[in-house]
Subunit: 240 residues, 2 copies
DNA sequence: GGTCATAATTGACCGCAGTCATTATTGAAC
DNA sequence: GTTCAATAATGACTGCGGTCAATTATGACC
């Protein structure tokens, strides 16, 4: 029973300073029960094989109640991703306090997440995949805390790197963070599918970090300037 | 009715040199009818709003027949992705014949695919998303021609670039192609979700290409060598 | 305690993706 | 033309995700 959904953080904010009403406490408890029941079952029998009714049964609520808390079945997976990000934030503290080179910081973040994934490949696969679903439909309102936080972190690290001279001054950190995130995400998904060794995974991530740091062009011939239009523009994206 | 599924290529191979039996011809025709009916309907009313029974109705076959050809509803989307890749291959010919710099070649490929996507944002979103599904489950046997071909193309372009001195000799093209693909994929998905202008999309892709070519590290301090273990190893992945 | 608006719970119900046992078609062999 | 095994078509049926109208719990206010 390695790594059940984290006990402290749940998937909501931890800022529970004001004492909660009974109602609120009950709600959280129910939510937690459903969440927990769901992941026990997912782990035991897989996602597709688990029905909402089973989850409701184990959480000791009606089927409809499950949908009150998690409007789609896949919302349960998104909750897991959020949970993991909370674990990460909790474990590593605010970015400003991290030590080491830019590269080391990035590797530490990746390491934390890959370790979780290596322990729970099935859940990781589901959660990673789910974290993309919100991109599918423009109507979906989910805010996808998971990826957002990851991007914000990566971006901060790059920013620090700029100040320390380890990252190009003129780098568009928004885009770079975006690329790092998507490369990491894809690498992890591929690995989860192919079920290689953890060593392979780390090696591949390291190699890709090399590429992102060094670039593809040879050292001298900086870059091949052929872009027809270069419209300088505030990057769209996830930062506000 | 812009861009219906391509008429010539369908989703199967074009190598129809040996004359086909009547049976085989019938099969292809039925498959084509279903494919076409499905995409007319998807375009008219959206994916979720279209039922398999409607598709079967319009293609003038029984419901079960649809499932004979496309075992899941989403298989129809995967077929679209394949179709688009065939269009691309057909339009641009073998990689060896392309002209221009490495950067220009990559931009031309992206341009072709983004143009298709700009014309059919809804279908593109669905197809792009679907093209990731095969990574979700290790049991899925789909071979995902789409992404594979794209990777092979990108890799060839990088290889040529190495010969022309536009790409670092010691670059692991397998990984680099992989990163380029995932960055492109993600950029496109994000754009499709946010519905910006086509100009925005091109600018973002261009900016990311800059990053991939130049790298994140400053010119002088090549890279920050901190990786604990550097296991040189044949890249796993999609090339055979 | 009693009243009442608001919020939470619930399970009967619905629609559709996907299955499968049955039936129809094909074409090779004679 | 007839036979027959292999292949394809079919739609009745099933199971589950998701909805919603009805029911119950909660707590603010008197």
């Amino acid at each position: 029973m390695a790594h059940p959904p984290s006990r402290k953080s749940d998937t909501g904010h931890d800022t529970t300073s004001p004492p909660l009403s009974r109602r609120e406490r009950k709600k959280r408890e129910v939510r937690r029960n459903i969440f927990q029941a769901a992941f026990e079952l997912f782990r035991e029998q897989g996602f597709d094989e688990t029905t909402i009714e089973e989850i409701a049964e184990r959480a000791d609520v009606g089927k409809g109640t499950v949908f009150n808390y998690f409007p789609r079945k896949t919302s349960l997976l998104a909750a897991l991703a959020d949970d993991w990000m909370s674990l990460l934030a909790e474990e590593m503290g605010p970015v400003e306090t991290w030590r080491g080179t830019t590269r080391q910081k990035l590797e530490r973040v990746f390491r934390f997440l890959t370790d979780l994934s290596v322990e729970n490949p099935d859940l990781a696969r589901l959660a990673l995949f789910e974290s993309l679903r919100h991109m599918q439909s423009p109507t979906s309102i989910r805010d996808e805390r998971g990826i957002r936080e990851f991007l914000a972190m990566t971006r901060s690290v790059l920013h620090q790197g700029q100040q320390r001279g380890e990252v190009r001054e003129n780098l568009e950190t928004e885009y770079a963070a975006n690329m790092i995130e998507s490369a990491f995400h894809r690498t992890l998904m591929q690995w989860l599918r192919e079920q290689g060794s953890a060593e392979d995974l780390h090696a591949e991530i390291s190699a890709k970090l090399d590429i992102i740091f060094q670039g593809v062009a040879p050292r001298e011939a900086a870059a091949d300037r052929s872009r027809a239009h270069r419209r300088r523009k505030a990057p769209r994206g996830t930062a506000k």
